[in-house]
Structures are given as C-alpha cells and as structure tokens.
C-alpha cells in the first residue's frame, strides 16, 4: 500500500505538451480511476507513474519519497497492460515467476508466491500452458497474476478490459473489484475510457481532459455535483441533456443540464412540451427522444416499455430539484 502524490506534473513529447500540470493525491489503499476521452493523457499519466516515461517537470512521490529518477522495477509497482503483454515463449508459471527470478528469489519463495496468486485468480490448472493456448479472459488473469506476484505497493491497470468481449468484461470487472478487497486494499490506479467501468470500480474518479484534471471525486460526487459542463456531460449514460437559450433563461442560467432519468412525462401540464421523434426499447427501460424546440431532442428515460409512439405530443417536467445550472464559462451555479 502506498500513498501517491503528483505535484504539478508535466510531460511533453518534443514540443507537444501532453500533461499540462497535474496535481493529485492518491490515498493509500484507494482504487483511483483515470477516465477521459481519447487523447486526454490518462494513459500517459499512468505510464509516468509506472516510470515507463520520463516526467518533464514536477514531482511524483510514493509515501513521501520522490521517485522521478527511479526505474519502474524499483518503485514497487506492477502493471497490467491492455494487451496482456505475456511472454509468448514462456509458460504461465514462468511468466509469473520471471520478475522474481530476476530479483533473485529462491525457488521455494517463487513457487509459493506464484501458486498463491494462481489460486487467487483460479488459473492453477493453466500453470504449465503457453499463452497461445489460453483464451483472452484467461490471459488477462495471468497478466493480473504476474502483477500480484510482484507484491507491489501500487497496482497499475492500463485499460485491461478493452480487449475482452462485453460479457467477459462485466465478469472480469467483478473479479478486479473482488481482488481489491481481498488484497488488503492495495492502492490501485486504473485507466479506462469507459465511464461505466469508472463508476462501478472506483473509490474516486479523476476526470482528465487535454492533459489537465477536470474534477476529482467519488463517483456519486461526480454524478450529483459535476463541477463543469464537461464532467456533467461525460459522466452518466446516456449523456446528460443540455439546454440553453430561452430554456436556460427560464432557470436564470446560461446552460442547464438534466439527466434523462430525472425527467418525467406528465399526464397534465409540464415545463417543456414537444413531439416524440424516436424511441429505444431495451426491455428493462426505454429512452424516448422528444423534440422540444431546442437544437437536440431531449432524452427521457422510462421504466419498462414506453407507451409513447412516434409523433405523440407530450409534456415534460424535471423530477424534484435535479436541474443543473451552468454559467457562461461552464461552471455550475450554486443552488
């Protein structure tokens, strides 16, 4: 377990600034998720923590010790790569044992650690197999196992689920969450572009955009109190509805946002009225697209199957006090 501190970390590749001054405290034992759109720098930031890239300026501290100049293997980290990065010519056992062998562990010590990790991840039957004989999900577990054997202070995950199919992704997500609990809450830093993964796994989420931090907070904080238009639109699926112009004026704001699950279709009068232009039926819920006269239709969530048809005229109103108000610079206006 280790506490990480990033202090005004910057990274440039030649003349291109990728990380533009990131300061962040990651608590010991916390599950921190870096999330953001493509190109925001989340993977780069992870690689800076790992030591696979040089930090251009700023400091990175593990438990108060500056580690900028330390090689990755000396920082007490372990990394799970997006494409697993298993050594193709070595068995699963050798893959997991490689790091310890280099560091000079005894055969018994290595055997114990590898077998424990294999047990934890249920890959003991595969120890003598080669990676090419395993499925994607099994390979991913081996990659995690290899990281566990290192007994790291900080676990780093670089989009580990993106190469798996949807069902496997959900199952492995659960495994990773269980892993966090069973490993005495080791500090984990996890990078993903999928905000559902972020919301379900994280203790805290760090939303990045264009090399700077937009907001850091618990999933609920980001969901209920986004500190910018960007975060409001990024977190939550489907995307938050935004209205400006006369719609926002009515709430004395430059832009207002309201989530689809916070709008209801009223039998009587509502605040907005419009026509149904599209609907999506997912069985468990449905999403109704209503054109209320703004540039984009409002998406409204309904439980179960909707009764509304294309062309129906409906009245909409927000549920409770769930309208987010934003000023001209995209910052939230306090209630």
């Amino acid at each position: 377990m280790a506490e990480l501190q990033l202090k005004d970390v910057r990274k440039s590749f030649g003349v291109v600034d990728v990380i533009k001054g990131v300061s962040l405290d990651i608590k010991s034992g916390e599950f921190m998720v870096f999330v953001g759109p493509s190109g925001c720098g989340k993977s780069t930031l992870l690689r800076l923590i790992a030591g696979l890239e040089d930090i251009t300026s700023g400091t990175l501290e593990f438990d108060g010790q500056v580690v900028n100049s330390l090689a990755p293997s000396k920082r007490g980290i372990a990394m799970v790569f997006q494409s697993y990065a298993l050594y193709p010519h070595m068995t699963v056992y050798d893959n997991m044992a490689f790091g310890m062998q280099l560091q000079g562990g005894t055969k018994d010590q290595i055997k114990k650690r590898v077998e424990n990790a294999a047990e934890l991840l249920q890959i003991t039957p595969y120890l003598e197999r080669l990676p090419k004989q395993l499925s994607g999900g099994q390979r991913q577990r081996v990659a995690i196992g290899r990281a566990i054997v290192r007994d790291p202070k900080v676990f780093l995950f670089d989009e580990p689920l993106s190469n798996l199919d949807a069902a496997l992704r959900v199952a492995t997500r659960l495994e990773i969450a269980k892993l966090h609990h069973s490993m005495n809450n080791v500090t984990m830093v996890y990078v993903t572009h999928d905000q559902v993964e972020a919301m379900t796994l994280a203790d805290r989420i760090c939303v990045l955009r264009d090399g700077i931090i937009e907001q850091v907070g618990t999933p609920l904080e980001l969901y209920e109190r986004p500190q910018s238009l960007f975060v409001a639109g990024f977190i939550g699926s489907p995307k938050m509805n935004f209205l400006n112009g006369k719609f926002a004026d009515a709430f004395k704001a430059n832009t207002i946002g309201i989530r689809s699950e916070h709008i209801e279709i009223k039998d009587g009068a509502g605040i907005w009225s419009g026509e149904v232009v599209h609907s999506e039926n997912l069985g468990s819920d449905s999403y109704v697209y209503v054109d209320v006269g703004s540039s984009e239709p409002l998406i409204v969530r309904q439980n179960g199957t909707t009764t509304k048809q294309l062309g129906d005229k409906v009245q909409l109103a927000p549920i409770g006090d769930s309208v987010h108000r934003f000023d001209a610079s995209g910052k939230p206006i306090a209630h």
Partner: protein, 328 residues
C-alpha cells in the same frame, strides 16, 4: 530593473532540469555499448580502407611498394603537359578514353537492365499476386536463378551461349532467327546483350519479390471496388495498382540501380577482355592489380564511389526517405 537584473531574475526563475529517470540513462548507456562493436568493426573494415583508397588516389603508390607512396595531388585524375610544339597532352583518368568508355558501358548497362528487370519483374509479381493452382511452384521456380551464385550463372550461360556447341545458337538456327552461329560473348556487338540477358535472368526474381511485397500491401477490397465499378483491368493497373505500389517500386529500383552501377563478377567471368562490356569496377581492378597502376586504379575507384554516393544522397534527399528506427 536593470537589464542585468532581468537576466539574472529570468535565469533564477527557470525551472530545474527534469530529473531523468535512471531507466532512460541506463538504457541509453547500454545502447552505446551495444553499438560499439558494430561501429568499430565497420570503421576498421569499411571506413579506413575507403579513406586509404582515396588517399592512394592522390599518391603514386604501386602494388609492390605501397609504403613508399608520395603525394602527387590530382595527377592521377587529370594532368597535362605542354610540348615544345605547343600541343597539350592530357593524361589522368578524366582524360582517359578507356575510362569514359567504361563509364558509358556502366551507365548503359545499369539503365537497360534496371528498366527491363522492373518491367519483367512487375509482370512476374502480378502473376504471383494472382491466386492460381501451382502458384507455389512458380514462386519456387523463380527463386532458382536467384539462388545460383553469379559465377556459376556466368558459366552456365557461357556454355549455353557458346558459339560452337551452345544451345542458344542451336535453337535460334532451328527457329530461323539467325543464319549462322554467333559468338555471343566474344563479339563486340553482342557481348553486352549477353551480359544483359544473364543479369536480367538472375536479378529479375529479386525485383519481382520486392514488387510482390508491395503489391501484397494493397488491400484486396480496393480491387473488389474497381470490379463493382466495372473498371477495365488495364486502367485499374495504371490508375490504382501502380500508384499504390510506387513506394515499394522506388525502393526496389534504387537498390537495383546502385547495385547495377557496381557490377563486376558477371562481366569479369562471362566477357573478359571485352572493351564493350568493361564497366568501371572492372577497369578499376584491372589497373589496380593487373597493370600495377595502383594509384591510377585507386583514382578510378574513388570516382566510382563518388558517383554512387552522389546518387544515394540525391535519392534520399529527393525521396525524403524516412529511415528513423521507429518511434520506440
């Protein structure tokens, strides 16, 4: 604030140099050690001898007594003496008609062979790119000329082109293409043709394979799209295939061209002592070793080297070839 204060202030406020991770320092250091053996080897085996050859060209060195070489400036390249009668006698490589004949032979050979090898290589590559039964056999077959050592091909073809007992004369006579046996490798006019035939036979597979690699990088769906659009195959070739294979083609052509300019083995063995085929390499060696005009031969070698160097630089500059080792 005075100017000095501003400067001092600016310097003081400058952020400290980034702390380089020991990972990168150790990797770069390892890289230097890894490269050292190779660099030293190349310097000793290639760099130094090249410099010596250039040096010799500026001296009067001779094979039997290299150590006693004395500096003579550009004498070997160009010199002149004015006779009492007022006539100027020119000497040196640049005034030597044999040298210019060799240059002409080399250029002629290189141009014709590369053009023909490219065209025929393209045809063979197109054939190999198509899907048909027996493709493996064809691919294996064309590797045969490439695998045979040059000297052996020279002898094999020398035998086939033999004026008395050669099979080529036999076939041509039977097909009424000629009316008497031709001494292909001995007659001035036909010697270059003989050399070209053998070289094209031997090198076309190499060109074909390089072009084939380029062809195989073109996605198949482009051809499917042209089929749906109903474009004639010839038009498809010139408007679609050729532009897409151009990068690979250019690389293959330049490699071959530079290679062709340096040719020695084939000519030495197939058509020795033939003035119509003597190339720059051949005449250089002749002077260097056979005639013991060591310094003179060195000058010729240097000129050939310069020519190739200029061609290479031109190609890289014009093609702006990206030879970086990648972004790792």
């Amino acid at each position: 604030m005075t100017t000095e204060d501003t400067v001092i202030g600016a310097l003081a406020v400058r952020p400290p140099k980034a702390m380089r991770s020991e990972l990168f320092v150790s990797r770069t250091r390892a890289a230097m050690w890894f490269l050292l053996p190779m660099i030293v080897a190349l310097a000793v085996v290639a760099g130094w001898p090249l410099l010596r050859t250039i040096y010799f060209s500026f001296t009067d060195a001779s094979l039997s007594n290299i150590a006693a070489a004395k500096y003579v400036g550009f004498y070997n390249y160009l010199n002149w003496t004015t006779l009492k009668s007022g006539r100027t006698l020119w000497g040196g490589v640049l005034a030597d008609p044999a040298w210019w004949n060799a240059v002409w032979n080399t250029v002629r050979f290189a141009a014709i062979s590369v053009v023909l090898e490219t065209i025929i290589g393209m045809v063979v590559a197109l054939v190999l790119n198509a899907d048909f039964k027996g493709r493996g056999i064809v691919r294996a077959a064309i590797l045969v000329p490439w695998a045979i050592p040059t000297i052996v091909s020279a002898k094999m073809w020398g035998w086939m082109l033999n004026d008395q007992f050669g099979i080529i004369n036999d076939i041509f006579l039977k097909l009424h293409l000629i009316d008497h046996k031709i001494a292909w490798t001995a007659t001035g006019d036909t010697a270059m043709t003989a050399v070209l035939v053998v070289d094209i036979w031997k090198t076309t597979p190499f060109m074909a394979l390089l072009i084939l690699a380029g062809l195989q990088m073109i996605p198949k769906d482009i051809y499917e799209a042209t089929e749906i659009d109903g474009i004639h195959p010839i038009k498809t070739f010139f408007r679609v295939t050729l532009p897409l294979v151009r990068p690979a083609l250019m690389v293959a052509v330049i490699f071959r061209l530079l290679d062709a300019m340096r040719i020695f083995d084939l000519i030495y063995v197939l058509t020795p002592n033939s003035a119509q085929t003597k190339t720059m390499s051949v005449i250089s060696r002749e002077n260097l070793i056979d005639f013991d005009k060591f310094a003179y031969g060195s000058a010729e070698s240097t000129l050939l080297f310069l020519l190739i160097a200029v061609m290479t630089i031109l190609y890289i500059w014009l093609g702006r070839v990206n030879l970086d080792g990648g972004d790792r």
